[in-house]
Amino acid sequence: MEASFPMKQIMDEEGRLVDPSYQEQIDEKLVQQLHYHMLRIRTFDRKAISLQRQGRIGTYPPFEGQEACQVGSALALGEGDWVFPTYRDHGATLTFGADMVRMFLYWNGRQEGCVAPPGKHIFPAAVPIATQILHAVGASWAEKRKGTDRVAIAYFGDGATSEGDFHEGLNFASVFQTPTILFNQNNGYAISVPIERQMNSKTIAQKSVAYGMPGIRIDGNDCFAVYFETKRAVEAAREGNGPTLIEAVTWRTGAHTTADDPTKYRPSGKGKDIVDPLVRLERFMKNDGYWDEQAVKTLQDKLNDEVETAVKGMAEFPAPNPEDLFDHVFAVLPPQLQEQKEFYLEFLKG
C-alpha cells in the first residue's frame, strides 16, 4: 500500500525542487505569501505558548511543525469556501482570515473567540474528535444542492481516522459526491499514541480506496506539495468530481498541549532529523534568490507587532457579560433558565 501511495514531494528537505514541472507556477508572489503566513502563524503560536506559561491564557495546543500543512492548504481555498477546523488548526484559520484577537480570546476561554469575521465561513473549532468531518460533508452537500461551486475542507489529525465519524464521513461524502476536501495532518502522534499503534495500515491515504475516492499522500512539511495538491483537490471538488482524502505527513514538534510532556512517551531524538517546514522554505528561498535578510527581519518585526497588538486587543476586550452564560443556550430563553439567570444576576449584586 505504501507503494500505491508514495509521498508526493515538490521540494526536498534541502529546499530544492524535485519536481521541475512546478518551476513556473512557483513564482515570487506564492513564495512570499507562503513564507509570510508560515512565519506569521509561528509567531502567533510561540507567543501563545509564552502567554500560557505566564498564566495569561489557558491550556494551549501548539501546531509548530505543521505550518506548511496549515498555510499551504488554507491558501489553496477560495474566498467563499468553508473551513471546519479542530483545536490545532488555528494556523489554518488565521491564514484563511480568522481574526487574531478573537483567536487569542478563544484560547483565553472566551466564547467570543469562536466568532468569525463577517462572510468568513469558519466553523467553531471542533474539540470532540472527527465530528467536524460530518459537518463539512453536510455543508458541502448543501452547497452542491444549491448549485454553487464552493467547497468545504475538514481538518483532522491521525487519531481522528480511528473514529467512526471519519469513516461515516468519507462514506457519505463519496456516496453523495460532495465537494469536500478531507485534509488529514498525520503528525505522528495522537497525544501519546504513535501512528503505528493507531492503525495497522501503512498509510492514511490508502483508506480512500475503501471509499472509492481519490486519495493522496503528501509531504506535509513541503508547503508547495500541500498547496498544489490541496488546490488540485479543491478544483476537482469545484468541478463536480467529489471529495478527496489528503494525508499530509508532518510532525508535531512540541507537546500535544501545554499540559502535556512528550518526553514521557516520545523516544528522545525521534523526529530530530525532520527539517522544520519553515526552515525548508527558507532554504528554498535562499537557493532560488528569494531571500532578502533585511526584508525578512522587517517582516518579523511587523509580525511581532501584529501579535503584540492582538494580545493587547485580547487584554482590553470587554469583560465577559455574565448574561452570556444564559442567553445563548437557545434562541429564546426558556422560563426556567430565565429564573436561573435572574437568580445569578441577583447573586452577583451581593
Binding site: C114, V127, H135, A152, G164, G169, H328, F330, A331
Partner: protein, 327 residues
Amino acid sequence: MAVISYIQAVTSALREEMQRDEKVFVLGEDVGKKGGVFRATDGLFNEFGDYRVLDTPLAESAIAGVGIGAAMYGMRPVAEMQFADFIMPAVNQIISEAAKMRYRSNNDWNCPITIRAPYGGGVHGALYHSQSVESVFANQPGLKIVMPSTPYDVKGLLKAAIRDNDPVLFFEHKRAYRLLKGEVPDEDYVLPLGKADVKREGSDITIITYGLCVHFALQAAEKLAEEGISAHILDLRTVYPLDKEAIIEAAKKTGKVLLITEDNKEGSIIGEVAAIIAENCLFDLDAPIQRLAGPDVPSMPYAPTMEKYFMINPDKVEKAMRELAEY
C-alpha cells in the same frame, strides 16, 4: 376538519413544511423510495425528489452530523432515526455538537435541525425496537425534546420544531402511529414548543404524563368518572425543557399527583417533574407524589406477558389513579 392518524399527521407536517420552505429536507435510512419503515415519509420522494429526500448510508452519526453541518449552513434538515433505539451512535453529534453550537459560538452559529425518531413499546419490538430514550437527552441544555400524544399535536408541534431555530428531538410513539386518530385542521397551524396542554379538566387527582400514556390516562379517567372520581390530565408535550408553570398549576389544582411514563422509573422525565412539584407545591399536596413507570430493567422484552408487564396500560393507570384518589 379531516380525521387522520398520528403517522399521517407526521407525513402531512413534513410535506407542508417542504412545500412551504425549500430549505427543508429529509434524510435518514430508507426514507426515500420506501418512504420509511413506518412509512412516515411516504410519497415525499416522489413529490420532492432525491435532492430533498435522502436515503443515507446506514450510519446514524452521519445522519445527525451531516444534518448538523447542513443546518449550520442554513438548511432545515429533518433527520430520521429509524428507531429511537438506534440514536445511540449519534449521541456525540447531538449532545457535543448540536446542543452546544449556539452557546459555544457565542450566538454566532445555530443549528436548526429536527431529529425525528419512533420510540416506545407495545408492538412486539423487543429490546432494540421498544425503548424510550428521552432521558438520555433530557439534561442537555440547548436541546428541546417534543413527545406528542395526538395527531393534532403531532402536526402543529412538528411544524414548530422544523421552524425552530434550535435543535429539536421529536419522538413519536410507534404504537400511536396507527392506533390514534384525530381531527386536524386543514389550514396551516403551529403549536408552541415548551408548553404543556391540559387534555382533561378535573378536580380530584392530577395526572401528568406525555406520549401514548396520555391516552391510557384519558381512558382510565373516563372509567373513574363513572365512579365520581374527577381526573385532571396534563400532557407535557415538550418534555425538555419542562413547562414548570403548567406543572405547578396542575399539581396545585387537586393536591394529588400521579406521574406516568413508559420509560424506566429511575432517572426518567417524571423524576424531574416530581422535583418541580416538591420544590414548589409542598403545602398544596394532600398525598405523596406517585409515579407509575416502566420497571428498572434494561429494555422491554418481546415475550407477550413480559411486554405486557413492562408496558403502561389503562388498567395499571386506573389502579394507580383510584389508589391516589382514595388516599
